[in-house]
Symmetry: C2
Subunit: 286 residues, 2 copies
């Protein structure tokens, strides 16, 4: 399907570059959606791209406003794309809880109930968003891309990268939900259960980074994961070490850093954003 052309909602100058915000009618989400793209000033018409997937309750705006990403992106000559975290708007199902429905798409293609029609964030990120970006008139090389994300977005970044080997030069995550099908991950039990029928199904395991890495083939991109040791969700929801151990057992190039005192907030994300951008820039410019 050829996507509808995006409409520019706003442009704002920041750090010798421009943050563009676009709206378009998404075919796979069956709703209007928005995304933001930060493009540093450049003479290069082929800037590499990092996709940033946000966490629960977020939109395209949270990281753009609070992530401290633009300075490092400008220094490295890399663009960053910030999609929304779920479909929204009239006719889109929702749930009163913060961890279901709008703001909580979990980057899966839902198959169940009211969610199945629009909650197709996996296909949106993997297929429709890159196609839509081509129509934005920005100086991007969409073949040179990496992916990162925070919490639910870290889950999305890892699973999307692992399911598409060769597609991303590198992948990273801030405090990812790394083993959502585990019984001790209430978020995964709830949402993957609702969106995909059961968190223990084979369908759900295709959205579990720890399960995916055990059987991945042909995946060689470097992986960076940062985790705050004082993150309330670290031991109760995230379980990043399970992914790291499985990735190491598989011989993957994974770096894991546990940071004393850091929590789950954007103060944690912004602190280590520069490191992630430099990590991706090195892989993208090889």
């Amino acid at each position: 399907m050829s996507p509808a052309p995006p409409k520019t909602l706003s442009t704002v100058r920041a750090f010798d570059g421009v943050l563009h915000r676009f709206q378009h009618d998404s075919g796979v989400l069956k709703s209007s959606t928005v995304f933001s793209v930060y493009v540093p000033d450049t003479d290069d018409q082929q800037l590499p791209v990092i996709y940033y997937l946000s966490g629960l309750t977020c939109t395209d705006e949270n990281c753009a406003q609070k992530g401290c990403a633009f300075g490092p992106l400008r220094e490295r000559g890399v663009a960053m794309v910030f999609p929304d975290t779920s479909p929204r708007g009239e006719g889109t199902p929702d749930d009163a809880a913060y961890d279901m429905g709008q703001g909580a798409g979990f980057y899966v293609d839902a198959t169940e109930g009211v969610w199945a029609e629009r909650f197709q964030m996996y296909s949106y990120i993997v297929d429709e968003l890159p196609e839509t970006l081509k129509a934005c008139g920005l100086p991007l090389n969409l073949n040179a891309c990496s992916i990162t994300g925070h919490s639910m977005g870290g889950h999305g970044a890892l699973t999307i990268a692992l399911r598409n080997p060769g597609r991303f030069a590198s992948v990273s995550a801030f405090a990812p939900i790394a083993n959502p099908t585990a019984e001790d991950c209430p978020w995964g039990q709830k949402t993957l259960g609702a969106y995909l029928g059961s968190a223990s199904s084979d369908k759900a395991k295709l959205h579990d980074a720890t399960e995916l890495v055990k059987s991945c083939e042909g995946f060689s991109a470097p992986i960076l994961i940062d985790q705050g040791a004082s993150d309330n969700f670290y031991k109760t929801q995230l379980h990043p070490e399970r992914f790291v151990d499985a990735a190491k057992a598989k011989g993957l190039d994974v770096t894991y850093r546990l940071h004393e005192g850091y929590d789950h907030s954007y103060f944690f994300v912004s602190t280590f954003m520069r490191d992630h951008i430099e990590f991706h820039a090195r892989a993208l410019k090889k």
Copy 2:
């Protein structure tokens, strides 16, 4: 008056430092108020301090979340204090407009009407906040301080510095309301009129940076002002060049930078935050 001791509301780790948030019962504001302080990790028990005064509608949190200040503060070994912009809470007068009442204290000591009892932000910033900071147990040297701010907070920074020569090692402002008593500054006409009786009164002129600089004595601190050329308020409210021209005529050390394409948002503030912190750090460490 000896201020009530502050209570810690939260501490969050960021950029190898800690953002502390405090609440205390303010004697001059006659209400409970909050402020935040970012302190980079240090063995030095005498860190210099920059006060950051926020703009209309803001609280202590806007710049802490969106200002991209912590990285440069950590690099330079300087702390930053973020007060609220007005008194708040039960019994505090307000106005339905965004530019009056709560969130719009304008850093003056109000003398009129319902505002006179609590809207005493000048005295709070100049006197009570530094005294309160002494009771926080932080490794600060409150005698080594500079001051900055955005928009209404830029107005506050310039006027407070000019009225207290020798107190601040340096002063800077992002898109300040630089001549609020002018007839072509609707914000100043409205708020200084309401808080002080008339924007053309002598009382109001004590809160107008352009008026103050014309008659200042003994002021030698360096001044830095950044302004976005695409800021919607630049020509209609801010008038920074009037201040700059008056300061130059007075022989003050003022640097003014007009940045093509930049607007009035925190994207503008965050872009130039590093420059301001480095500017103040040089003055503070002389």
